[in-house]
Symmetry: C2
Amino acid sequence: MTSRTPDPARRSERSRQAILTAAAELVTELGYARLTIEAIAARAGVGKQTIYRWWPSKGAVVFDALLAGNANEAGSLALPDTGDVAADLRTLLRGTADELASPFLGSAGRALAAEVLTDPKLLDEYRERLLGPLLEVTRQRLRAARTAGQLAADADPDLAVELLYGPMYYRWLHGLGPLDHGYADRLVELVLRALRP
Amino acid sequence: MTSRTPDPARRSERSRQAILTAAAELVTELGYARLTIEAIAARAGVGKQTIYRWWPSKGAVVFDALLAGNANEAGSLALPDTGDVAADLRTLLRGTADELASPFLGSAGRALAAEVLTDPKLLDEYRERLLGPLLEVTRQRLRAARTAGQLAADADPDLAVELLYGPMYYRWLHGLGPLDHGYADRLVELVLRALRP
């Protein structure tokens, strides 16, 4: 009957997953502004103090929840690396376009972006927990391409990630045009023209 | 004594200028959310109805005021055209970097960007009155360079303006790094590599 013996580590991990799932669901349903730690705790079936034991704030748990939604089964954020940087960046930006064009990011995501803009503490948490890891795995993929000779030896990964994500984000924020796979592909083609040897 | 004769057209133009100046000053001092049409009218020395005769909303007068701050003496938005597209784009993006790095856009501008994000009507006014004209003169400058053979014949002006402004805006919004002239120059160099024949 060992499988029925209470296992604190396993129970703890189940609670953590339940909290992340509840946070992801509730930010979609309510938007960031109306979301509360109490509501996350109630849906996850845990006490508020359990959430505060692991996360310092509402922003922290929400960004971890959004990051978990983008992570692989090992729980880490990883980009495809087939060896073909053009194909991999197309996969990446098509996925980003799909997310930005989804109903969730069309409303709750805009509200969250607006709050990040005007709350320096929330921006810090966003950079630390969600944007930073995303940009870092992207830079790693670009460095691998540079090492393989597919990008110029002096290609700057910091500038390159802004060139990849910036135009799409700008189009999304301002509603300048559709975010479809054709757009993602044309953007990748231009960015690679800028970065190739 | 003709110069003292009241001239309705001239008086009207003076009022319009006073309103635009007051709106630009007040949005800097108060931020967009706390700004009112009453406050603009009081500072400009006109009645509220005078403002509403020319502008349908607070957003409309603020965006016209910000556009006027970027216009030349003829009152129109125009980009430099020296014939050297690289030099002209450097001038353009250095100016954009200076504006984004200025104390005004560091606080009031972020608040305005956040409101544009979450208010579809305000976003429409922003696109119509400020962003649209800016993107259009930028596309015109790029089309001229394409005609002159400095850009590829198939360079897409819509995508090109997003490639120019998007990365800098992304860096600014997320506080990813400094917005200085060196950054503007490196960005222009990359974008031109993407767009050249």
